[in-house]
């Protein structure tokens, strides 16, 4: 292509100054950007408000597109279901007959378990759901793994709360705005989740890899063996994630660090459930009681018993 000379200012002083000022502005923009980058590196939540404003605008659009996508995707599934209903029905009836004995035994075990727990006086913390909402979009072009949740401060979502899907843990809320929230998925390389193995309770840590898998490494034993198929659930240590939520399954036999596939399928699950933080941080102790205050302070709704 021939050179485009129409940006040359020529002899016009005004055009020359304009071009020069343009470059001054460009350099200033780059410098401001560098400063912002430093700020957001050391204080990642710093510009949450600005992101929240933009998210408030984009999330409804994403939600609408998501409805369109679900509608289009539901067509083929509905047709397939129609033709499979009879065979599915037969299969499920047979399976129910098979499982009846198992259900009976499980009921007995639940009752016995409750009785034994009463004997031991184990107190269970209730796991309460805060909000149910859809994940509407994500940072698909970035190396970070964030998703946008269509529920925010007004729906009771607070930053730090765990988010789970029907299959397992999805991640944790990091920023909230009025009606949207930003969730860091458990596959993000910055996400670290304390887990334990269902087989023997081995404590471990699941950290995201960035490529859709998580690395599970033992928390207390060096060279702990992991077998393919080992299932890890949240342990409740650390106080953020309630115990017992499925996290990941080990792919291959390994020692020390095992690459695992996460249970949650954020793209396919219809809804995400925002849970209350398992053990909220204790309120700072009052320095001295104010004389005018009521003698018995009202207990916090979700304080540790």
């Amino acid at each position: 292509m021939a050179p485009q000379r129409d940006r040359r200012p020529g002899f016009s002083r005004r055009a020359q100054y304009g071009l020069f000022l343009g470059y001054v502005a460009a350099a200033a923009g780059a410098l401001i950007a560098a400063a912002l980058l430093l700020l957001s590196t050391f204080h990642p939540a710093g510009f949450a408000a600005a992101r929240g404003v933009v998210r408030e605008g984009t999330a409804p659009v994403s939600l609408g597109l998501r409805h369109v996508r679900d509608f289009l995707a539901s067509g083929p599934a509905a047709v397939a279901e129609h033709f499979q209903t009879a065979s599915d029905n037969r299969r499920l009836l047979a399976q129910r007959k098979q499982d009846e004995a198992l259900v009976q035994r499980a009921r007995l075990l639940v009752r016995e378990n409750a009785r034994l727990r009463r004997l031991l006086e184990v107190r269970e913390l209730p796991v309460e759901a805060v909000a149910t909402a859809r994940l509407v979009s994500s940072s698909a072009s970035s190396t970070r793994r964030y998703a946008v949740l269509a529920a925010g401060y007004h729906q009771g979502v607070r930053s730090g709360q765990p988010v789970r899907g029907p299959e397992g843990l999805l991640g944790r809320v990091v920023e909230t705005s009025a009606n949207t929230a930003r969730v860091v998925l458990l596959t993000d390389p910055d996400s670290v989740i304390p887990v334990r193995r269902t087989r023997d309770g081995l404590p471990a840590i699941a950290s995201g890899r960035g490529d859709g898998f998580v690395d599970v490494r033992s928390a207390n034993v060096a060279n702990a063996p992991f077998l393919a198929g080992d299932i890890f659930v949240t342990s409740g240590i650390g106080g953020i994630y309630p115990p017992g939520i499925p996290v990941a399954r080990v792919l291959q036999n390994a020692r020390d660090t095992a690459t695992s596939r996460v249970f949650a399928q954020p793209d396919r699950s219809d809804f995400a459930l925002v849970l209350r933080t398992f053990l909220p941080p204790l309120p700072p102790p009052a320095a001295f009681p104010a004389p005018a205050a009521s003698p018995v302070p009202a207990p916090a709704p979700d304080a540790v018993p």
Binding site: D6, G29, A30, A33, T41, F47, A59
Partner: protein, 170 residues
Amino acid sequence: MSTPVPIELAVPEPPYRYWRPAVAMVLIGSLITILPVIATIPFLPPFGLLALLAWRLFRSNALPAWAAAPLGLFDDLVSGQPLGSAMLLWSLCLIALDILDTRLVQRDFWQDWLIATAAIALCLALGRVFAGMLPAHVDGPLLVQTAVSGLLFPAMTRLCAWQYRRSAGR
């Protein structure tokens, strides 16, 4: 289709005359991330950067170098990268392209394509560093992302040319 404007023989147009379609395309490119897909790997090409480079290489007077800062700021707000990442990288890209224009005056499209692919690769790699993701296992996805972005560049240039013709023919 309207009659093509003989671009090079036309009277020199005032600079930054067609900034509206360029800015609109970059903003829409940045907003591609609001598509309702929950990604598990970085698979979406950086469409905002792609549109910016395509416009800038297609018409050297499409956008001033300082326009990269506000456009990059908007991209950072919707992309999930730390704020300032795209702002800085895009600014550096446009300043570098202005310097390159004084050195490598006669270029054909293949060279523009190569320059754009190199710029995208650099931006994606540095974006990963800025996000603090050096230990993450995203080499493969990033390579694929870069390749797809590079392959999309000619299509994006066609889109720019179409938008340009539409604006110029008006």
